[in-house]
């Protein structure tokens, strides 16, 4: 089949690449258009992830406070200070803060101690099943920004099929050094209470249907 075509720079660029697919020239031109659209959208001065999560978490906190004021909860309202020791709060984005539905996002407000600037977290079901949040399987615990107070971790977690509805304990592990999952398991020990050099903080958490 013969299909004569107009020979312009874009066609020549495709010929030079040896593939009849969009060339670098077409891609670059398209990106300029895309970026023009994106740049025209409102921008944020604050870290956008944090801004978005704070906004969502703040709305959820207000809703939770209004609806469940009499109920004691360990998920204190946003703005209250975390103690000056390693601590964290899981914040469910878009839902009541202490309850997540499958598919929703979970954020972490973390306060690191001065000697434990690395953080890892996993959830544990009553039957002992563990769902790792971070580090990744081949990674190490994440570094925390020394903010002098609490800060929102720029890692989030999506509640997926591996976390069906039910009650969980979230373990936050603060360490002096970045640790892999294997190293964390060793450091935690069988009783999950930890050892010298790491601090373990537990939080209750609910995934609702």
């Amino acid at each position: 089949m013969t299909r004569p075509r107009k020979i312009d720079d874009e066609t020549v660029a495709r010929l030079l690449s040896g593939r009849d697919l969009p060339s670098v020239l077409e891609k670059e031109r398209l990106f300029e258009r895309i970026h023009a659209h994106v740049a025209a959208q409102p921008t944020a001065t604050r870290s956008t992830w944090q801004r978005w999560v704070w906004a969502c978490a703040g709305a959820a906190a207000l809703l939770a406070a209004a609806l469940f004021r009499p109920i004691a909860t360990e998920f204190a309202a946003r703005g209250s200070a975390l103690p000056n020791t390693p601590s964290f709060r899981p914040l469910c984005v878009g839902e009541a803060i202490s309850r997540c539905k499958p598919g929703s996002a979970l954020a972490f407000e973390v306060s690191s101690g001065s000697t434990t600037p690395y953080f890892a977290a996993f959830a544990r079901r009553a039957d002992g099943t563990v769902v790792w949040y971070f580090p990744a399987a081949n990674g190490v615990s994440v570094p925390l920004v020394a903010s002098g107070g609490s800060a929102l971790l720029d890692h989030g977690v999506q509640i997926g099929a591996e976390q069906p509805p039910g009650h969980y304990e979230i373990y936050g592990i603060f360490s002096a050094l970045p640790l892999s999952r294997a190293e964390l398991k060793t450091a935690l020990g069988d009783d999950l209470k930890g050892s010298a050099g790491i601090t373990v903080v537990r939080r209750s958490f609910e995934v609702s249907p």
Partner: protein
């Protein structure tokens, strides 16, 4: 390797909307999105989105997708933990279906005979590779153009040949080519323009442009 697994710094820059980071993500995933437009797909729910046959429509779709995926809400909606590709393809899948619905062309099983019947939901779940395109009918005109382009490339000096390789085969930016070769970006631009004009002129002389017929 997923793009953000290589660099946490890139993820931070991406989330903040940094232009260079967006460009890097765009280049990395362009082909995936283009293929979704090129091949079409079926969903587990029985929705069928036919392939887009016109090149302009494919590129329009790619543009719409990246504008959506690079919006602040989408950038921040990505958790940074899972691979980015399934996240992006999910947005592309939903956008394509929305576009069909908005154009009053309810995607349905009646749109048969196009694309590869890629199960998009399975592909997103497995983060698997796209199927290879079947060769189809040989485009004799394209083959002839390729031959002539190869001929004219053989007559060019080494510097221009290197620019052709880096710029068009490896798809480096002009700035990266300049850095790689230790020359100015202006020189890369000049030589690139000369290369494109030279090939065009050669193809015209060979009677391969529609105007010559």
């Amino acid at each position: 390797m997923p793009i953000f697994a290589k660099s946490r710094v890139l993820l931070d820059r991406f989330r903040s909307g940094d232009r260079a980071a967006l460009a890097e993500v765009y280049r990395f995933y362009f082909e995936d999105v283009y293929r979704l437009a090129q091949y079409g797909f079926v969903t587990r729910g029985g929705v069928r989105a036919a392939s887009l046959s016109r090149e302009a429509d494919r590129l329009d779709f790619v543009q719409d997708l990246f504008v959506k995926a690079f919006s602040e809400s989408a950038r921040c909606g990505y958790d940074g933990l899972r691979p980015y590709r399934p996240f992006l393809l999910q947005i592309a899948r939903n956008l394509r279906i929305d576009q069909l619905r908005q154009s009053n062309r309810e995607p349905s099983a009646s749109e048969l005979g196009h694309g590869f019947d890629v199960d998009i939901d399975a592909l997103i779940e497995s983060n698997g590779a796209w199927p290879d395109a079947s060769p189809g009918d040989p485009d004799l005109h394209w083959q002839r153009l390729l031959q002539e382009t190869s001929t004219v490339l053989g007559t060019l000096d080494t510097e221009v040949k290197t620019i052709a390789e880096l710029r068009f085969s490896q798809e480096l930016s002009q700035a990266d080519v300049a850095e790689r070769l230790g020359i100015t970006r202006r020189r890369v631009r000049t030589l690139e323009g000369r290369l494109l004009r030279g090939v065009r002129k050669h193809l015209s002389r060979a009677g391969l442009t529609p105007e010559e017929k």
